[in-house]
């Protein structure tokens, strides 16, 4: 480097400087534009939303505490009833958790098959991979509420429509996450099993599942946590469980705010409980993977 003649070096550096400056300008321009677009989107988006809302953001801000205050003050006045109410609504909570658990199980099984059938290298019918991928994309795209409401019409209210709806969505969502894992599986063991004349299901069972199980379980736990919320929300639109009770209590208003509070405590407690348990367990599962 020191040997290069000075003028040549200078020329050479000038060129690099110029092209780098051009790159910097371009990057600043793009960066600035991105920022500008983002700010414009946020500000105008906020204005549109504010405008199309019944109450304005700034007018409503000071009222945020009103509703919780109403609920809490009534619940406080009737605090003696709370334990009894919590017991009363416990079965509804069990139903909500059951919906989440069953749909997570069914969804995980469905997602498992969809992902195995949709992953290159593992698929039983390689030519159908795009088909299975589209199927899981669509299953994932359908919001639970859509299927639940349609099924309520056909099957009547209760936990089953919610269960099916959540299971379908879960299968799609897990299929995607599972695929990401199984794409990275080591195919050596699969090849080894194939050479002994193992069937497709035996290859998957022995060659793939042991490898991916920790990640799959971890994703399934995360999904279970999400599904508890989903099942509560679906209850809100008519599919049984705690959400249904909460909606009725909240809709009725004063007089049943103690019930609303009791249900809320149950729901909040459950969500936080499973959130903590699953995140702890998930960390354990994936930590073991690191080594």
């Amino acid at each position: 480097m020191a040997d290069i003649s000075l003028s040549g070096a200078q020329h050479h550096v000038d060129g690099i400087q110029a092209s780098y400056m051009a790159q910097v300008q371009r990057r600043r321009l793009y960066g600035g534009l991105t920022l500008l677009i983002f700010v414009v989107l946020m500000v105008s988006g906020f204005n549109v939303a504010d405008d199309r809302n019944a109450g304005g953001f700034w007018d409503g801000l000071h009222q945020i505490g009103d509703y919780p205050a109403d609920v809490l003050s009534e619940a406080w006045d009737k605090r003696a009833d709370l334990p009894a109410l919590i017991v009363k609504y416990f079965p509804a909570l069990v139903e909500t958790i059951n919906i989440a658990a069953v749909s997570t199980l069914i969804g995980a099984i469905g997602g498992l098959f969809l992902s195995l059938l949709g992953t290159r290298g593992l698929a039983k019918w390689p030519r159908l991979i795009p088909l299975f991928r589209r199927i899981s994309d669509i299953m994932r795209a359908v919001p639970e509420i859509v299927i639940a409401l349609v099924l309520i019409f056909v099957l009547g209210g209760g936990p089953v429509p919610a269960m099916i709806a959540i299971a379908i969505h879960t299968a799609g969502a897990l299929a995607k996450m599972f695929s990401e894992v199984s794409e990275n599986t080591d195919l050596k063991a699969v090849d080894g099993l194939a050479s002994t004349g193992a069937t497709w299901s035996q290859r998957m069972l022995l060659g793939v599942l042991p490898q991916v199980a920790p990640n799959y379980v971890s994703y399934t736990l995360l999904r279970f946590e999400i599904n508890i919320r989903a099942s509560a929300i679906l209850g809100f639109v008519g599919a049984g469980g705690l959400g249904y009770e909460l909606r009725n209590a909240m809709a009725w208003g004063p007089g049943r705010f103690d019930e609303a509070a009791a249900i809320f405590i149950l729901l909040f407690g459950t969500i936080v409980f499973f959130d903590q348990v699953s995140s702890r367990y998930r960390n354990r599962l994936t930590e073991g993977q690191g080594q």
């Binding site: 990057r27 983002f38 989107l41 946020m42 988006g45 906020f46 549109v48 939303a49 504010d50 199309r52 809302n53 019944a54 109450g55 304005g56 953001f57 409503g60 801000l61 009222q63 945020i64 009103d66 509703y67 919780p68 139903e95 059951n98 658990a101 069953v102 199980l105 994309d137 669509i138 994932r140 795209a141 359908v142 919001p143 639970e144 509420i145 859509v146 409401l149 349609v150 019409f153 056909v154 099957l155 009547g156 209760g158 936990p159 089953v160 269960m163 919320r229 509560a232 929300i233 809100f236 639109v237 959400g243 909460l246 909240m250 809320f264 729901l267 909040f268 969500i271 936080v272 959130d275």
Partner: protein, 437 residues
């Protein structure tokens, strides 16, 4: 190896397999037992009885077909024709569908040789191939017919009401009115309502043909009539989809902006006070635990129905989620880079900007865009609760339990919307993370 040793090894292996079998059978049987419990807890045997296949058929057929009502008011004798029986779909005075003929005797041809005739004096004749000619007379509250006593299951009759269901259409007779429902495939009036001059015109005519409405150009007029179609309300649907995406966008981005600084407070390495860190973490847990559903209800009082309320509900919940994810990402940052920047005498903010941000940006963006897509779905649901967006339209359309073609339309739009957002956020993520910061 000696025989004794080998036997011991065999015995060990047998024990091992016994244990594996126990687990192998144990887990599935626990799941199976649970499913059995659910089978009864959710009353699945009863469900089979309760499931209403007729509803399923109504739903399925209505979602891809429409019906035109031909209604005779038995008091006034007036006959009206309306698509889906709605006022907006009513044929203007003097117009009627081409499968209706006659003035004194109105002949309605349902197709498949099924003919209904509205005769004077509230009499009705129905011709169905392979069945006797049905004659009916409406008088006061009663309907008298010549129907025999044992009826096929597609006819339901009492002296107050007669209902006939055929593959071609449905006929109901009561004292007050006589109605024929003629079914057609497709989504009627999807493009133009009956009052639009462009109704029934072909695309070619509109694009290249003579000016239809003297006041407007063909294309502008057609687009505007379609956009303002009162049956399908394309404009409102577009707004609703926009509102839903807006809720997701504002909620996600707002949450990310708020969660980023809070994430620093909650991260072990950056928090100035342990107490503050613990408090921030609990705040995140609280925001997440309360759940978007309840935030929606709480905020509805303060801000009323609308997209802003939905956006704020998403924002609050996701602030908790992002806060947790961001602070975990922050706790995993590589100290070396921060030290490198610090050793040049950089100010604290500069240390964060160059030592920390570049490290967590990929994690952040990946999460933000993942949530953008999933929040589009949440926004649909939240909209159904707070009153905004496509979610509300969908739930309400389902609630009326008759506008299944609209339900089908909305479902297709929602799926398309979510898939689009999925694709878009994936594209943006690849674009931004792949780029230098």
């Amino acid at each position: 190896m000696t025989t004794i040793d080998l036997d011991a090894t065999k015995f060990e292996a047998e024990k091992l397999f016994a244990r594996k079998r126990l687990i192998g059978f144990g887990i599935p049987s626990v799941i199976a037992v649970y499913f059995v419990y659910i089978f009864f807890a959710f009353d699945l045997p009863g469900l089979a009885g309760r499931a209403n296949m007729e509803n399923a058929v109504t739903l399925a057929s209505d979602s891809w077909s429409y019906k035109v009502h031909a209604t005779r008011d038995n008091r006034s004798g007036n006959v009206t024709y309306a698509v889906e029986g709605e006022r907006k779909g009513t044929y203007p005075e003097g117009q009627r569908p081409d499968w209706v003929r006659g003035d004194e005797v109105i002949t309605i041809d349902l197709g498949g040789d099924i003919i209904v005739r509205y005769l004077p004096d509230n009499r009705t004749e129905i011709e169905i191939p392979g069945f006797q000619l049905i004659e009916a007379q409406a008088e006061g509250r009663t309907v008298t017919t010549n129907l025999p006593d044992d009826l096929p299951d597609w006819i339901s009759a009492s002296d107050r009401r007669v209902g006939i269901t055929t593959p071609e259409g449905r006929i109901t007779l009561t004292g007050a009115r006589t109605e024929v429902f003629n079914y057609f495939p497709g989504w009627e009036l999807f493009w133009f309502t009956l009052d639009s001059p462009y109704y029934g015109q072909s695309l070619a005519t509109i694009l290249f043909g003579d000016q239809i409405d003297p006041a407007r150009g063909n294309i502008t007029g057609a687009v505007s009539d379609w956009w303002n179609n009162t049956m399908w309300r394309h404009k409102d649907v577009a707004w609703a989809i926009g509102e839903t995406i807006l809720m997701a966008f504002l909620g996600t981005m707002g949450a990310a902006l708020i969660a980023l600084p809070l994430g620093f407070l909650a991260a072990k390495r950056f928090s100035p006070l342990m107490l503050l860190r613990a408090a921030t973490r609990r705040l995140f847990d609280f925001l997440r635990g309360v759940d978007a559903l309840i935030w929606t209800v709480v905020l509805a009082r303060a801000f009323g129905p609308g997209p802003l309320t939905g956006a704020l509900a998403i924002l609050i919940t996701d602030t908790g989620t992002f806060g947790k994810i961001f602070s975990e990402a922050l706790e995993n940052v590589d100290q070396k880079q921060i030290e490198g920047v610090a050793s040049t005498g950089a100010k604290p903010l500069q240390r964060y900007r160059f030592g920390v941000i570049p490290q967590i940006v990929p994690v952040l963006l990946a999460q933000i865009f993942y949530f953008l897509e999933s929040n589009t779905r949440s926004a649909t649901i939240i909209g159904a609760i707070t009153g905004g967006g496509i979610g509300l339209m969908l739930t309400q359309a389902i609630q009326t339990q008759k506008d299944w073609e609209e339900v089908a339309y909305y479902i297709i739009l929602i799926i398309a919307m979510v898939m689009l957002m999925d694709w878009f956020s994936g594209w943006l993520r690849a674009k931004l993370i792949g780029r230098k910061t």
